[in-house]
């Protein structure tokens, strides 16, 4: 059994230690907001925060997350995360929406470390998150908008 703390709640999962954190979160804990897209940290749909740092949970062994503070899209509740979600709704960013949990988790981590990011900061922080619908223009605008909201 591996002990996980997800969104401030404790869980015990019967997973092999090398199982990616993603599948523990989705199939064992039952939080499905974190998405499977590629399985090799190329698309960012599975992005969660581990001790505040964005990680690609599809390529992060569940054993390495034991004892750490894991935050998923469902647990995004503090000021920055809420500002990001608000900006996302205001600018109607999602299309199909599948990649957006990951986009929002990456954007939140960016704004926590850089509350007023430049376009270059956004490029650097968001390059790991693919969006096949092509919402990038609105993702960029929404990050700038969220930055205003948290002032």
């Amino acid at each position: 059994m591996i002990k996980l703390t997800i969104n401030n709640k404790s869980y015990e999962v019967d997973a092999s230690p090398d199982m990616p954190l993603l599948w523990a979160i989705r199939d064992m804990v039952g939080l499905t907001g974190t998405k499977f897209g590629c399985g090799m940290a190329q698309c960012g749909a599975c992005t969660v925060h581990v001790d505040g740092t964005p990680v690609r949970s599809c390529s992060f062994p569940v054993a390495a997350a034991a004892g750490k503070k894991i935050t998923t899209i469902e647990g995004l509740s503090e000021k920055v995360g809420e500002a990001v979600q608000k900006a996302w709704i205001e600018l109607q960013v999602p299309q199909c929406g599948y990649c957006q949990s990951g986009q929002i988790m990456s954007a939140t981590a960016l704004l926590k470390s850089k509350p007023h990011p430049t376009d270059a900061d956004i490029d650097a922080a968001m390059q790991g998150n693919l969006c096949r619908c092509g919402t990038y223009q609105r993702v960029r605008s929404a990050i700038h908008r969220a930055s205003e909201l948290i002032k």
Partner: protein, 719 residues
């Protein structure tokens, strides 16, 4: 978008169901049960039968027959009903239909069809319901109908100001005869349509609560991962599951058949208590395949065979005037050959399906799909179960782009649940999704054009060389395939002599429709070659095009608008260039002006101006997003690797080598919408795609003098 899937056509549906016109249902919640009363009225033929349910409590449910794949139908389709029903979308619950017969044909998301084919009928349904509610109120109050009006989910009596809510009126309204020709609102009174409106699915897509097919869990469910022959056309010989079954969590190994693009191929599924275990079990499988002679197939040789096939005369797709004579005798003429790649759909949600076979002959499906109607038709036929025993639950789609028009992944899962007797969730890995296809095919284009000495276009030929969608091995080469020549004879340029041709060339790799179908490749050849003709004529590309458009047309309007918004005649900085392109095809029509600058050995996209002509717009905000997204998808198809084949299989396997455009590569796209009315309503999801690549390549020519005739190209190595 054409789908090769069999679909119950409308006439057939009407005959079977006995419904002859606009159907409207009021369901009344009585004693805790939802009683649905079906009413039918004679009316003009319709494509889809939407439903409105009003409960006594006032709860209003509107059914959306068009799967939400990111194109916004979860808002735009119910909005057309809600507008006429005089309710706001905040007041209604929207439910997705699952191919149920009572909702009729057209339960699909494809062909940019939801608005352009549904605009009148959806509004009529809402208007019928409104008129019935008004009539019910007039009966209860015993006043003339003309003294009553509906607003904000209530009916008001003008002289007295009294009102009744829709909930209170529903029971009486359901007994009112359905109006044969309800009066539609004057567009100037619209509260929702034509205005920027928030989409009700957006909040759910920011907090993790939106449910996609891959998120479904049902009791007793097990997980499957399927090993398929890595080489296209290969067949299963035998397999050894001994090691796979030893993996912790694996419970069964079963075969299942994939049916795609006219081919049936067996694969081996590992079924386990969780998905990770299924994946580990799959790695432990030992499978023997018979490659059926396809093991040496490769892109290079196939591409050369397409070039060779271009020498065939081809079947005539369209002819006007005397192209051959005019071209032969012309003093100014040019020829060029254009090539495009195979590309993947790659929605970020991989293919997946949950299926449950129960009680001997009942099937329930939960899946992301563009075609619940087709699934509903195909399962009874394939599995010999009564149609009424099949239920399809459609979730939000994590992208479609045409891939989810093909339910091969659903039919595999049904076979597996039937074999193991438990609900099965089958999930494709990204590698499965990338390597197995189906893909958008390439098209190659042999172009010919002739001009008068003073630069007037007098002859034009577009000859398409390609496989067909759905893989037709016994294709009759005397015929020109309509889909593979989409739009090439529909452009409005007034060129007197034209002869367009088609050469079929077989490909055994599954190829299907992709967002904007064949226009996605043909527009590149067509509009770049028009640019080549402009250069040969020594004319400005915009002026050259407008010079061939003396008659009024939407094409002319689009180009004039592009000229205006892009300040076409304003000089650009040194090292910059601008290009224009547009394309008209079945889904609609759009155009671009792209501005680029030289950046080292490559180019940088500086500005993108888009004009889309819709005639009528439902949600301008969604349209803007769709065009921006189409530009990104077109850019990926133009500058990233695409899909190639070696040794019989796909070279690319995941997003590291089948790359998509990322945020740092996204140009700013300024979208202008033409919605000046008119009888024709045009599509939104696809038209923004085809003209992007030719506008970009025409801009690159203007900036660098380098003519790009083959996609993909490396944007960082132009000169």
């Amino acid at each position: 978008m054409n789908t090769s899937l069999p679909n119950l056509d409308r006439r057939n549906f009407l005959r079977i169901s006995g419904i002859t016109g606009v159907g409207l249902v009021f369901g009344l919640s009585a004693n805790g049960e939802t009683a649905v009363e079906e009413l039918a009225a004679a009316g003009e033929t319709f494509e889809i039968t939407p439903f409105v349910i009003i409960e006594k409590t006032g709860q209003i449910t509107i059914f959306n027959t068009r799967p939400e794949i990111g194109q916004g139908t979860f808002q735009s389709v119910p909005a057309m009903i809600a507008e006429e029903l005089e309710v706001s979308l905040e007041q209604v619950t929207i439910k997705q239909t699952g191919g149920e017969k009572k909702f009729g044909g057209g339960q699909s998301a494809g062909g940019s069809a939801s608005i352009r084919t549904g605009y009148q009928n959806m509004r009529k349904v809402g208007a019928s319901a409104r008129e019935m509610l008004i009539k019910a109120a007039s009966q209860q109050w015993n006043v003339p109908v003309t003294e009553c009006y509906a607003e904000n989910a209530k009916v008001f009596h003008k002289p007295t100001g009294k009102s009744m809510g829709y909930g209170e009126l529903a029971e009486t309204a359901a007994k009112v005869e359905v109006p044969k020709s309800p009066t539609l609102k004057d567009p100037k009174d619209f509260k929702i349509l034509g205005k920027k409106s928030p989409r009700p699915d957006v909040p759910l897509k920011t907090n993790g609560k939106a449910i996609f097919g891959i998120d479904i869990t049902v009791p007793g469910m097990v997980y499957a991962s399927i090993e398929r022959c890595p080489k296209f056309g290969g067949q299963l010989v035998s397999f050894d599951a001994t090691a796979a079954k030893k993996v912790k969590g694996v419970i069964a190994v079963e075969t299942c058949e994939r049916n795609i693009s006219g081919q049936k191929n067996e694969g081996v599924a590992v079924i386990a208590e969780n998905y990770w275990a299924a994946l580990q079990g799959r790695k432990a499988l030992v499978v023997k395949w018979d490659y059926q002679g396809n093991e040496n197939f490769n892109s290079k040789a196939y591409e050369q065979s397409l070039r060779d096939a271009a020498k065939e005369p081809g079947a005539v797709q369209h002819t006007q005037g005397d192209f051959d004579k005019t071209f032969a005798e012309a003093s100014v003429k040019l020829e060029a050959f254009y090539e495009t790649p195979v590309v993947s759909h790659s929605p970020i949600e991989p293919m997946n399906c949950v299926a449950s076979w129960y009680d001997g002959n009942k099937v329930e499906i939960w899946t992301s799909t563009q075609v619940p109607g087709s699934i509903m038709n195909e399962i009874p036929r394939t599995f010999n179960v009564p149609a009424e025993n099949v239920k399809v639950n459609v979730t939000f789609n994590g992208g479609g782009f045409g891939r989810r028009l093909y339910p091969d992944y659903v039919m595999e899962t049904v076979q597996l649940t039937k074999k193991v007797g438990r609900p099965v969730k089958a999930i494709w890995t990204r590698e499965d999704d990338t390597k197995m296809g189906p893909f958008r095919p390439m098209t190659y284009s042999a172009m010919k054009g002739a001009l008068t000495p003073d630069g007037k276009a007098i002859a034009f030929q577009h000859k398409v060389i390609s496989p067909t969608l759905g893989g037709k091995k016994d294709y009759d080469k005397t015929k020109a395939d309509g889909t593979m020549t989409e739009g090439i004879s529909e452009q409005k340029y007034e060129i007197e002599h034209m002869k367009n041709l088609y050469v079929h060339h077989y490909l055994h790799v599954p190829v299907v429709a992709w967002r904007s179908v064949t226009s996605s490749t043909l527009a590149f050849a067509h509009e770049c070659f028009i640019d080549e003709m402009a250069v040969k004529a020594k004319k400005d590309p915009m002026a050259f095009r407008l010079g061939m458009l003396t008659k009024e047309s939407d094409t002319k309007t689009i180009l004039q608008k592009l000229k205006e918004v892009s300040h076409w005649d304003k000089p650009l900085p040194a090292g910059w260039g601008r290009g224009v392109a547009h394309y008209e095809f079945f889904a609609g029509q759009a155009g671009y002006v792209v501005e680029v600058s030289k950046k080292g050995a490559g180019i940088k996209i500086e500005k993108v101006f888009a004009v889309i002509d819709l005639g009528t717009v439902v949600n301008p905000d969604t349209v803007e997003a769709q065009v921006q997204g189409a530009a990104v998808m077109a850019l990926t198809a133009a500058i990233k690797s695409g899909i190639t084949f070696e040794k019989g299989e796909t070279v690319q396997s995941n997003f590291h080598n089948n790359q998509l455009v990322r945020i740092n590569e996204m140009p700013k796209v300024e979208v202008h919408i033409l919605a000046n009315g008119g009888p024709k309503i045009k599509g939104v999801g696809e038209p923004g795609l085809p003209p992007f690549a030719p506008a970009l390549c025409n801009a690159i020519y203007a900036a660098t003098g380098k003519r790009i005739r083959r996609l993909p190209f490396d944007i960082n190595k132009i000169v």
